[in-house]
Symmetry: C2
């Protein structure tokens, strides 16, 4: 969305132009993409980028995850999943995840994952966002036990599926329809949501009832 003239603060589309330019730059150059370059591509003064987005992380999250056309995971869609009978939530979650990120585009998924891998504070943010805000509330409603382990296995599997489809673009997974993936992968997510995961081998390490997402394991 490059333009010739410079947009000014308050120009109705300046903020949107910055987000579009940022999305392209982050997807291409990773989390440390040049803010000056983003301003140039958006046709605005660099100070305006800083005015709208005082922190790089906020610009990144809105451009790549939130975007200009709504959040990647529309909370209303997740509410629909949540209202389904527990036994149907696995396939529904896969269908929603694949459909929404197919629509968002593989560049965004790659950019989010790259940022999460190259920047420690982004790891924490993505962890909080994906596991804490999206997956855990859903899992907590149906899980018979071990909410944290279940949430983390679900999140890890969806991210792995996304890598396969949108980053590595392995042909059979990339060519499958959302419905085919819901059928093939749904039972797996269902297993993580409500199936028997076995007993913790060390009862003293058993997790608290309250999910505590976002903490680091001791190391």
């Amino acid at each position: 969305m490059g333009t010739r003239g410079r947009r000014r603060a308050g120009s109705p589309d300046a903020r949107r132009a910055i987000l579009d330019a940022a999305r392209a730059a982050f997807a291409r150059d990773g989390y440390n993409a040049s803010l000056r370059g983003i301003a140039r591509a958006a046709g605005v003064d660099p100070a305006l980028v800083h005015h709208y987005f005082p922190e790089r992380s906020r610009l990144f999250m809105e451009a790549v995850y939130g975007g200009t056309d709504g959040p990647a995971m529309d909370p209303a869609v997740l509410d629909e999943v949540r209202r389904l009978p527990a036994a149907r939530q696995g396939a529904a979650l896969v269908r929603v995840f694949v459909t929404q990120w197919d629509r968002m585009g593989h560049d965004r998924f790659s950019a989010l994952l790259r940022a999460a891998l190259t920047n420690e504070s982004m790891v924490a943010r993505v962890r909080e966002l994906v596991v804490g805000a999206l997956v855990t509330p859903l899992v907590a409603k149906v899980a018979p036990d071990r909410v944290r382990l279940r949430s983390q296995l679900v999140a890890g599997h969806l991210v792995g599926l996304g890598m396969t489809r949108w980053v590595a673009r392995l042909d059979a997974v990339a060519a499958a329809s959302p419905e085919e993936l819901a059928i093939a992968v749904g039972p797996v997510i269902q297993h993580y949501l409500t199936g028997d995961l076995g007993e913790p081998s060390d009862p003293s390490a058993a997790e608290a009832d309250e999910p505590r997402v976002g903490e680091r394991s001791g190391e």
Copy 2:
């Protein structure tokens, strides 16, 4: 493994020092880590790095994946998995994957994944290595159908599990023992190996019998 004096070509430990320095640099700085910096940390002339490893990709793969203490996935261990009854291979594969990468260290896993995300030729190499060389031969022996889809779902799930444990380090997955993960995740891998994945929705897009790993989906 920084040293004072310069090691010379033919010095028995020069090659190993280069690999150790490269592993640290790739884990810290990503795929485009400075080769000059690696030579400095290894105490060798930069020309010697080039002598042993004419291509960056070869240095990377040996340092990060192959390493100085053997390949990440010892082929002999995979042979053992292959000799098990089909119904026990899911859990065994998880156990082997988790145990071996725990031993290799999370830095290597992160470095491999970061490289795969930041460099297109590395995406292809990692795809070939993980899916083509390791997963597909194993899956092909037991899969009733759809070898490519099964291989790719297995590979994607293992990578996703690895991200959860070694990169994002989500606490419940990071704290689980390899045996706990074999119990919780094994049935999932088993489902992808031998379970019913449903029918392809578009029969004309059904995959050929022969696995063709490493191809890109058309886009």
